[in-house]
Amino acid sequence: MAKWKPFDQMKYVGRAIPRTDGPAKVSGSAKFTQDIILPGMLYGKILRSPHAHAYLKNIDTSRAEAHSEVKAVILLDKYTVRYFGEEIAAVAATSPDAAEEALDLIRVVYQQLPYVVTEEDAMAPDAPRIHEEGNVSSSARGDKGKVEELLKASAHVAEDTIRTQVQVHNTFETHSVVCHWEDGKLKVWISTQGVHGARDDFAKLFELDQDKVEAICEYMGGGFGSKFPIGVEGIVAGRLARMTGKPVKVMLSRKEEYLAMGNRPSSIQKFKLGCDKSGKLSAFWLESYGTGGISEDSGFPSPYIYKVPNGAIYRKHSDVRINAGAARPQRAPGHPQSQFGMEIIMDELAEKAGMDPLEFRMINDPDEKRQRQYKIGAERIGWSERRNKVPGSSAGPVKRGIGVGSGTWGGGGAKSTKVQIDIYPDGKVKVATGTQDLGTGIRTLVHQTAAEALGVPMEYITPDIGRSTLPFSTASGGSITTGSVVPAVKNTGDTALARMLETAAPALGVSADELVCEDGVIHSTRDRTKSIKWKDAAALLGSKVLSVTEGWVEGLSSSGVAGCQFIEVEVDMETGRIKPVKVVAVQDFGLVVNMLTARSQIAGGITMGLSWALAEDRTMDPNTGNMVNPNMENYKLAGSLEIPEIDVVIDNMPERGVIGLGEPPRIPTAGALANAVYNAIGARVCRIPMTPDVVLEALANKGGA
């Protein structure tokens, strides 16, 4: 069975190795989808609804077609649009500006229909029905009556309503596609989280054999869960390119991203949580709702990481549809919402029970890894010395506080992952798999892992990823890319090395099973003088390329990670401004493959969590049905001035094998921040984003203080 060497004996896996594609990224030579420019290429643009809900009574494209620079106009077969920004038609023209002009020339007669753009409006008894099955669909589990009895019998009960807002992905590279038809084949450059899925979707759409489609994504400017489908932009790029016989580039605008390219749903969580005298949770009651826009999918797990006795859980959730762009998976779907609600209500209950919030968590969190991590994090943030024993008790108008929050995630790996390793007679090695690098660093991980398995310097190896013509690799979602690809590379590398050792053995007059390869030298473990350089051994292949294709195997990866974060904040009591000062993140993800890129993932997850907690908000206008802030000026993102000191503690557990890290560090931040704010000011802020007005309102409601 395939296995890793002991951690301290590995030379490439587990080390802090700069990215293989670093020079390409820093020099601007990395070609993203948006950077593809082909001879004769046209630009596609999409006409979108200016109304939240309307019948399309008539569409006249003749003026657009008559535009001298327009080469094609297509209609998407629609009779109704259900959100501001829904796609209606598309054009291809010789420049983006001409294409946009042509959109203005398409005359659409709309019959506006009633709409709802807030959860509460959609749930009202007299709300206009925007979906055949109604605006609200609910499901419940647990015995409500029994749980209410248990709450009455509990020593302490905390009750509160906690809100999280809609978050837009905001990938820096907007959804982009370039389609190019040639001899009945379709070549597609697409910013996608799954090149093989994109190939299959295009093949199905145009009724082509799958080998007639090549999907390419060598570099992509972020995905965060929004880039699985080929989307309307992919469909129109393919159709416009086929109609015109020219390559067509569709590169969405920032505004289109905000309106239609997915989001993390909102949540409104009404809690009742009880514990017994010893602080053990005794009853959990949660009624929640949320909106994924025009789609469902606003659900989230709860009571999340905390242990509640069997039969003591009552949970109801309602998915609320509104006239707004649909949700898509976003970095740890559901978890940040769960975490934010649970961490606040846990803190409130700890206070009612007269217990330290950390001690209270340790009583109710059954995870052994986190039990250890809580101690590490508490030590580093100075929990016992620096935290206010009485919330809001620090001196001065700028108050300091400390809070804690946790998270969990699955990960795992896809058995279907394949890797091809080619060893050339000059000793150079190519490692190919069709995975795509969202920015997490998987290209570098492939490179390191191959070097580790083969025992040759990284300079001998070229990783080749990001094309559907390479061996199958799964779509990148759920933090499974590392757990899929790295074991497959290791296993394929082991086999390729064994074949190389068989090639070298006769030349050394020994049996292959006593040979190893280290630092590019194959030698006998019995007699080190019996050795041959990798390159000389490769020359023994003659003119043949040694090619090995293998797949994922068990034993090199696992799933299930734990992490917690401690945050210190400053809150200005006069302005309501929150300033995160320090974040300590303790995170487990099994065997660390690259210490450098892992730190990036963790710092990035924290930053996105802070941005969600402090700034971001998709604001819908009930009077017009439009999103009022579809730009980076008014939809705020965390910038350099908001970034605190970030102290990353990697809880390395090599014995577990590799586990993905993309999602886990995104989860614990917001809840920890909310609890730090409470510890600073003594008033609960139960909604995000925690903008100054929200903080001042919480202080006002607290009164008297």
């Binding site: 601007g28 030579s29 420019i37 820096f172 590279e173 920032r254 920015g439 990035g604 730009n631 993102l637």
Partner: protein
């Protein structure tokens, strides 16, 4: 102001850049033609077919120096400097992210000052000397800013990276011993969605003689 000291002033209040540029496209600069352009747009679904089809735009010839190399291009008056650099000249290292002066991904150095190239018309850059990301590693050798980005993993997806590097190069050229606070302020005109800020600070601090962290 949170733009890292960049040189662009926003277009007139109440007008989006694109409308502004469209107004420009219908005639040459001037309030009267601008207003007419917007009025024409309001009434556009009554535009006779013949007018739509026979629309013509006067093109201008722009000469400029990018990364020490002279370029001459024919541009429409409405085209941005960003569009010229990327789509017409093929220097795609400079990125388009927000296209309205909010994120800094399109930052270039123009006549010694950093500018958002999405906020400038190509015609305004006539005669300018410009440095883009491709110019930082001229001669095939990476610039110290680029080396530091690699060493500190100061990027993830890499899409905001060229803009940050240009901004940091300019910042350090002007203030080689910048403090952490000065670095944060100087880079506040650039946004990153992957959250590479803390690693970018480490890269910057090392170049500024600070300790640079892990």
């Amino acid at each position: 102001m949170r733009n890292g000291g960049k040189n662009n002033s926003p277009p007139e209040k109440g007008l989006s850049r694109r409308k502004f540029l469209k107004g420009m496209g219908t005639g040459l600069v001037g309030t009267a033609t601008l207003t007419q352009g917007l009025l024409a747009k309001e009434k556009e679904d009554k535009t006779p077919l013949a007018t739509a089809a026979s629309r013509e735009i006067t093109k201008a010839v722009v000469s400029l120096t990018i990364n020490g190399k002279p370029y001459t291009a024919e541009v429409e008056p409405r085209e941005t400097l960003l569009y010229l650099i990327r789509e017409k000249l093929g220097l795609t290292g400079t990125k388009a992210v927000c296209e309205r002066g909010e994120c800094g991904a399109c930052t270039v150095i123009l006549n010694g000052k950093t500018v958002y190239s999405c906020m400038m018309l190509a015609v305004q850059a006539h005669g300018a000397r410009i440095t883009t990301i491709e110019g930082l590693s001229a001669g095939g050798k990476l610039h110290p800013v680029q080396e530091a980005f690699i060493k500190h993993d100061a990027y993830q997806c890499g899409f905001c990276t060229p803009g940050f590097e240009i901004a940091l190069k300019d910042l350090l050229d002007k203030n080689p011993k910048a403090s952490l606070d000065q670095i944060k302020e100087g880079l506040s005109g650039n946004l990153c969605r992957c959250g590479a800020y803390s690693h970018i600070f480490n890269a910057a601090l090392e170049l500024a003689g600070g300790k640079g962290g892990k």
